[in-house]
Symmetry: C2
Subunit: 336 residues, 2 copies
């Protein structure tokens, strides 16, 4: 993004960016969008539905109009197409829950101490931030990010042509919500999925597998992905949104362990924010590097060139890079 003229508005918008995050989080917590979708349209009606007072509701609603989530016609508020499609809890593409992870106190804490993180080159949160064993943040993650991950997983299923596949054995490492393995299993009734994660997190993945009707083909391995034995004979190993937490040497160690679990013609599938090799874009992928700096000791948003090096060091064949439009996620696939 470039501007030819100095823009005080850009500076002010950035200074106050956290206020727009907070306004949208409050609206989601109060279920404002869901109540508007169900017919409440005025400050008074929404205050009653959301158990708030009109004075507070008015200030919130007017802010959301400015932010592009609500329309207003006189005293009546409505949903913009974005809010209608993505923020109504009863809609099929609801992603509002993601704010409870993306703007959770734990993730935000890293940014509270961002200056220190830049000085030292890694998170300024004690105890390695969110990478401590059984950290409860990942239970929140598993619940909050499931809808968004489900959308990405469907796109991944198309990319992998899962519906036409034979009876693949799939290993989903650091499965979290489990939505990647679960969605592939839903697309192909022959698939068997093994999910690895902390026990407290897999409890959530198990709920999701039951809800998706694939629990009988969903096995769970509890423990650290670095320590628990994976077994072997897998056709696919999924590594969705996991490697970015670690330094390259640690990634290579995990990749080598994953490779040992694959069949000779098996493949590893890495889903990540992947910036271009010079880190000049895409914007969300580049920015994600700072999220990892703020929250982890040695993680990063790795480029495809960096994944190529890690995969080679771990013994894999030549990888390929794939977009998952309209998701900002990208996929790196490498043969064993």
């Amino acid at each position: 993004m470039a501007h030819d003229e100095p823009s005080l508005a850009l500076v002010w918008d950035t200074f106050t960016g956290y206020q727009r995050t907070a306004a949208l989080r409050a609206a989601i917590e109060l279920d404002v969008f869901t109540h508007i979708s169900a017919g409440a349209a005025t400050v008074e009606a929404l205050a009653a539905q959301c158990q708030a007072v009109p004075r507070g509701m008015r200030a919130l609603l007017n802010h959301l109009v400015m932010d592009g989530f609500l329309t207003r016609d006189g005293d009546r508020y409505g949903l913009t197409p974005t809010a209608s499609a993505l923020l109504d809890r009863n809609g099929p593409a609801y992603v509002g829950s993601a704010v409870t992870f993306v703007a959770s106190p734990m993730v935000m804490q890293g940014f509270t101490h961002l200056t220190d993180a830049v000085r030292r080159g890694g998170t300024a949160i004690p105890d390695d931030g969110a990478l401590a064993p059984e950290h409860p943040m990942w239970v929140e993650f598993a619940r909050a990010m499931a809808p968004l991950a489900g959308m990405t997983a469907l796109l991944l299923g198309n990319l992998l042509e899962v519906e036409q596949a034979p009876a693949w054995k799939v290993l989903d490492i650091a499965a979290g919500h489990g939505l990647f393995g679960i969605t592939l299993a839903r697309l192909n009734p022959r698939l068997q999925v093994t999910a690895v994660d902390w026990q407290n997190v897999l409890a959530v993945a198990g709920e999701h597998a039951r809800a998706a009707g694939v629990a009988d083909r969903f096995r769970m391995l509890t423990g650290s992905a670095f320590d628990v034995p994976f077994g072997d004979g897998y056709d696919l190993v999924l590594l969705p949104n996991f490697l970015h937490h670690f330094d390259a040497a640690t990634c290579e160690r995990l990749l080598a362990k994953a490779r040992a679990a694959l069949k000779p013609d098996g493949r590893i599938v890495i889903v990540e924010f992947v910036p271009d090799d010079d880190r000049s874009g895409p914007a969300d992928a580049v920015r994600f590097g700072l999220v990892m700096l703020a929250g982890t000791p040695g993680g990063d948003a790795y480029t495809f060139a960096e994944y190529q090096t890690m995969l080679r060091h771990a013994g894999f064949g030549t990888p390929t890079l794939h977009d998952l439009v309209p998701s900002p996620a990208r996929v790196v696939i490498a043969p064993r």
Copy 2:
């Protein structure tokens, strides 16, 4: 702002808005823009100048490129026109310090508890938030916001045609940094300014008055604007960015007290974010209503219609509304 198509990008940008605030705040704290302006251009050079490590600096710089504050050509980073004009500490229009108030822990705390504030219709911070006597936040405010206020005050001086004025006596209520009264005094050597604020805050205003060379015409009244006697015979009473902290009844009480301090042909000058009467814009003024909900028990971004009512109740004549383009501030002026 409206969008015809659902935009996951808008949702994601809002979820992560606080990250852009934090990135810019870190860059300002580390003086990244000032060091680039002075010639440092690479990750390594900037890391050395800012006492950071290259790994951290790289992640921050690449984020700032995405956010519109830096340019990048290979390994060399430069300033966009916005950063060059507004974020170089040695530049004449530096406003970077404002982030230490706008995104201060105290102001952000109100937004951390925004859902509660919407429910109850006022700040969820204990002890009335920042309105407690001698709150140290206002010392930070006085230092941080002085540059931005100085720009607005110059525009106000033009509006009031201060340079052509006779020997006005000016009362600056809740002067803070003092920049409104000080700037008017700088524009007209005949002006006498009396500034009212807490003692700890006026110490900063006194520094600013000395730096501007107007200390001999700058008198200080320490204490609460609601309690300290103002004296009388003023040509102008300034109320810059103060009334928004209070409910309408409290505003009317202060306005009546201010009116009693004016000469018969004196005027009151209110500088504020003033949304349109239906609160449909301008965006920053509408949004400011939520800032007051988050941080004060009964404050608001009042409309001109609401100021008209308050001023009438306080005994003033018919007020007029003025823009201060390119500042988002507006001015309400009423004769005694």
